[in-house]
Subunit: 363 residues, 2 copies
Amino acid sequence: MRLNEREMVSLIRRKLGSVSSLGTTIIGPGDDAAAIDIGSGMALVLSTDTIVENVHFKSDWVSAYLLGYKSFLAAVSDIYAMGARPNTSLCSLGLPTSRTTRAFIDELFDGLVKAGAELGVETVGGNISRSRELFISTSVTGFANADTIAQRSGAKVGDSIYVTGRLGGAAVATHCLLNGRFCESDIKDAHHVLFARCASEEMGLEHPIATRLLKELFMPTLRAQESLALSEQNFCTSMIDISDGIGSDLQAICDESKVGASIDVTALPLFEGAEVLEMPGESGLLNPLIQGGEDFELLFTVNRGDESRLRDFFHKKGFCEITRIGRITGAVEGMRFVDASGSGVSGIDGFDHFAEIGEDLGV
Amino acid sequence: MRLNEREMVSLIRRKLGSVSSLGTTIIGPGDDAAAIDIGSGMALVLSTDTIVENVHFKSDWVSAYLLGYKSFLAAVSDIYAMGARPNTSLCSLGLPTSRTTRAFIDELFDGLVKAGAELGVETVGGNISRSRELFISTSVTGFANADTIAQRSGAKVGDSIYVTGRLGGAAVATHCLLNGRFCESDIKDAHHVLFARCASEEMGLEHPIATRLLKELFMPTLRAQESLALSEQNFCTSMIDISDGIGSDLQAICDESKVGASIDVTALPLFEGAEVLEMPGESGLLNPLIQGGEDFELLFTVNRGDESRLRDFFHKKGFCEITRIGRITGAVEGMRFVDASGSGVSGIDGFDHFAEIGEDLGV
């Protein structure tokens, strides 16, 4: 019997549940990261993320530098999603013999070390194996106050649902790459600019759309300060990073919190430039916006009574934009996508992404 | 320019070294595991290990159950090699679509959870990706007293070199599997017996050689209590687990400690049953004994003045056998293999295992 994604996760979690009495685990399988009590009110937070060639990326899309950079970011994002401060990482590399060149390893680790330096995370060890396809498995640890860790399970009926930043840029970039919508020189230019950004040259709006979209895919901005504030200031009742897409990630919050959700699709903040992708049908860009992840924005829920305090705090601190996109409902209502008038929107589907580029699944 | 194993590790360690000022790292890349100061004299110890199909195992050799069990053990072994107590793990799985069956995942996690329960280590999270070849990347954390962590770098000229248990069983088992020396029913019987062992039926000497060898390969005994005693009682000046083979692992101690070593090959304790493999030439079983790893015994160095205290302690506690196999020499002497009379032994070669079954390399 072949299992789909949800059935696999459910089976594995049941299995792992059977040893949970052994340790001093605060949070086990089922969240962005696990958390272990280490005394003095502090928790060790830990998570792992893997990218696989031809599943999460194609090697002609991305330089070794950006691969190292992006794989590192994606793994650290899960630690921020708990409202924790990341500190160390381990890198386990599966390397085809053809990639054992000095240039490849040099570039890959330049990207990885650069991302680590920007985020204050040190790679303290790792492992290399030969493999037929390239994969990078990154485990990250961090620390948090045990009583302010943000979990997926805390959303309450009536809470508002928020996202940071803008969505869909990475999904549209992936779509354009998959469908040959970027020409080779666009990709080359983008990599050149992104590499230059690392030499502290900031990238502005004047750059071509292709570059802005590819930056969103390969060098997304993690919401570090924002995530820490959301947890430490007790703003959020639940939080997750949008790595799999709002549809899938909000479903995870609903599952863990045993609630439903209503999303106003007209409120979803679209990445500037995403409209370059013209999608047929009534739902247009909604599917890439809702199913596409990889922007690594935060999705979180807030008690209505805390909303003005939240907005004031973010404004005062000069944090990124946040947008209210819906509200938490009762579990029986499930997850619904509605327009501004509250009517259901059709043509939005599919969360089982164990069959396409971008599949990946936290246990 | 294509790099060999040592060149890759050296390049990566130079790269990673450049951010080492960021954290509170006690031990960075280059040991069995890294260690981070977490206050109160305690260190968080962390390590990662990956097994890849057709590199570390072939799927017709091993059941999903033993795969889960062995991959878990191999990862935890690195934590014991630091003299630390393992507590949690993360499992990152690369899964071909053909393996997404309930039976496969069920068995794999049964093995993994069984190993975890035996060792007191809880799997607190993980990740699944699709991949063409199966891989399992396991990250493990543990705790140790910051001032008694056993490192590779502490060996001093004149120290005695010891190993726990007996060596070569796993290497001979691998050799027999690779060369069709076990018939299918031997392998089936062995898996049956090993599975039964998990239901608390202890395996004795009366079992056929094939079963004993395959147990050594797939369910080796980790030296948990012994490793903790070696570090906490300050017996060892350096320690490593024998995962790559004595040749490679002792070389790592020599490199990190900036010393040489002289090994008396006649003192090497051969696994009972390993002699079933008749090897041609003067060196006979020496190459599998020295190059083959996977027994997960401990290799450690001891100040001569501490040897009798060490032997008494191990005897009193009923710990496993330990054998003195040589001594640490000056760096200029390099690593030498000698016979009981001190004459060099020829015909022993090769540590760059990035080209054969069993390749794997800690950073």
